[in-house]
Every structure is written in C-alpha cells, then in structure tokens.
Amino acid sequence: MFRFLFPGSSDNADHQSVFDLKRLCSLTLLGALVAVVPVTHAGDTPITDDALVYFIWPKDGAVIKGGKVWVRFGLRNAGIAPAGIDRENTGHHHLLIDTELPPLDEEIPADRNHIHFGKGQSEARIELGPGKHTLQLLFADHLHVPHNPVVKSKQITITVP
C-alpha cells in the first residue's frame, strides 16, 4: 500500500496501473451490479400492451369427471418461444395450480403448483384429485420472469367430483 502513495518512480508506475485496473474492475463490477439489479428487480422484459393469455379449455366453473384434462393455453398478440430463447414479444406458459400469483419480478418457482412449459408447449395434460382447484396462466420471458406489463390469465376454478 505504501508504494501506491508514492507513484512517482517508474518502479511504482506498474503497481499504480495495477491498482487502477483493480479499482476500475471493482467500479465496473459495481456498475454492472447496479445495471443488472434493477432489471432483475423489475422483471422488465417488455411485451406488447395488448398481449393476452387465457384458457381455451377448461372453462371457469367446469366440472371435470376423473380429474384428467388437457389444458389448452390461449395466447393473443404475442408468440411462444421456449425457455432460454430471447426473442422479441415472446415468452412461454406457466400453469399455476391451487396457488396465488408468485412475486412478479422474480423467476417463477418450479414445483407442483407452478408448472413450466419451457419447451414451447401450447397445451398440457394434467391430472387433479377430487375437490375444487384453481388454475391460472402466467406468461414469462426466457428467464422465467414475468413480462412488463405482466401477462396473466384470470384465475379459474374447476371441480373434480
């Protein structure tokens, strides 16, 4: 450290530049963090204002005998791209079963209540036990983070007798 305080000699010049490089790196890293954090925080992948996801099937209030159903995902004014593929005005479907919306500025969890369709699927076969269940679609970007604005369907309720 002492040397850095006396950068006049040619011997110290290299150390000075190394020090500067370190500081530059730290600043760049800090800058990168500052730049990245708000993007992650905001879930900011843009999508057209009129993008819409909805259930083609089942309908709200449907009674599904046996509990096995092909859920068909409707999408308007936007396109599907598999997870990991960053293309303008696209995303992939997530089906929320018996759960409320997750935080909308974070990656959607992947568990039995949050099913990801990262291969670009537009429908899925699911099986539910007897009782009332809620279903909701949430569209998200290549990193599984919801878009800005958020594209989500109405939460519907179905009954398995």
Binding site: G74, L75, A78, G79, K119, G120, Q121
Partner: protein, 153 residues
C-alpha cells in the same frame, strides 16, 4: 479366359457398378431427408377451431392452432422438437422437403403465434396446418393437420 467367362465378369462388373450407383443415390436421398429437422413421432397439429364443416357467418374469424407433444419456437431459431405454424388456405400440401412458400395460400406464423385472425371471401374454403422448422421446411416426419372444409357466408 474363355469368352463366356469374360462376358460373365463384365456383367458382374456392370452389376457392381449399378449397385454402387444405387447405393450412392440412396445415400443422397437419405442425406436430404436427414437435413430436415426431426419431430417427435407422436406430434400432432390440429385446427382447434373452426371445426370441419363449420359454417361461419362472418368473413373475419379467429383460427386456433392446436399442437400436442411438440413446442412452438419462432422462425429463425432452431430448437429441438419445436417449430412454427403455417396455415394453408385453399391449397394442397407443398413439397415435403422444401421451404414452405409464403403467399396468400400459405400463411406463416413465424412470430410463434398459436392463433390468428383471417379474412376470407364468402364461399367454400379449405384450411390445413403444417408445422415448419426454423427454415420454414416441414419436419421429418411432417407434422400436418387434417384438411378441413368450411363455408364462409
């Protein structure tokens, strides 16, 4: 060497040459087929709406694309077991190993759409869906829907 033996040898040479040529041709054909993107054997594309035989009382209507056991990816991006929809209107299937034409009879949905609003003149029309890969070439095996007939009033 007797003349008959010579004849036999030359015939067998010709035979070998013919077989080799056939093999080369077969390989060429196979290579061409392999150039196409593969699709899962159980992939199904279908027209969710309208139904076959549907009579529609408006010129502008929404067509819903159904796809099972396969995914959607926009044109230009290669992705395993995925592709994008093409709607064939009033036409037969194009060549299986070539880029699907883009005209009023072959509508491309390269932005990854899964439904579309189309407008047709009154009359009887046919609709058929055909999946294409990132280069708009049908898959191997081709993923194609039933051709349906509708009437627009």
């Amino acid at each position: 060497m007797t003349a008959s033996l010579r004849k036999l040898l030359s015939a067998s040479w010709l035979c070998t040459a013919a077989i080799s040529l056939a093999a080369v041709l077969a390989t060429a054909t196979t290579v061409q087929a392999d150039d196409r993107s593969s699709a899962p054997a159980d992939a199904v594309v279908y027209i969710g709406w309208p139904n076959d035989g549907e009579v529609i009382n408006r010129r502008k209507f929404r067509v819903w694309f159904g796809l099972r056991n396969m995914g959607v990816v926009p044109a230009g991006t290669a992705f395993r077991d995925a592709g994008h929809h093409h709607l064939l209107i009033d036409t037969d299937l194009p060549e299986a190993d070539e880029e699907i034409p883009a005209d009023k009879h072959h509508r491309h949905f390269g932005a990854g759409q899964t439904e579309a609003v189309i407008e047709l003149e009154p009359g009887v029309h046919t609709l058929q869906l055909l999946m294409g890969d990132h280069n708009h070439v049908p898959h191997n095996p081709p993923v194609v829907s039933k051709k349906i007939t509708i009437t627009v009033k």
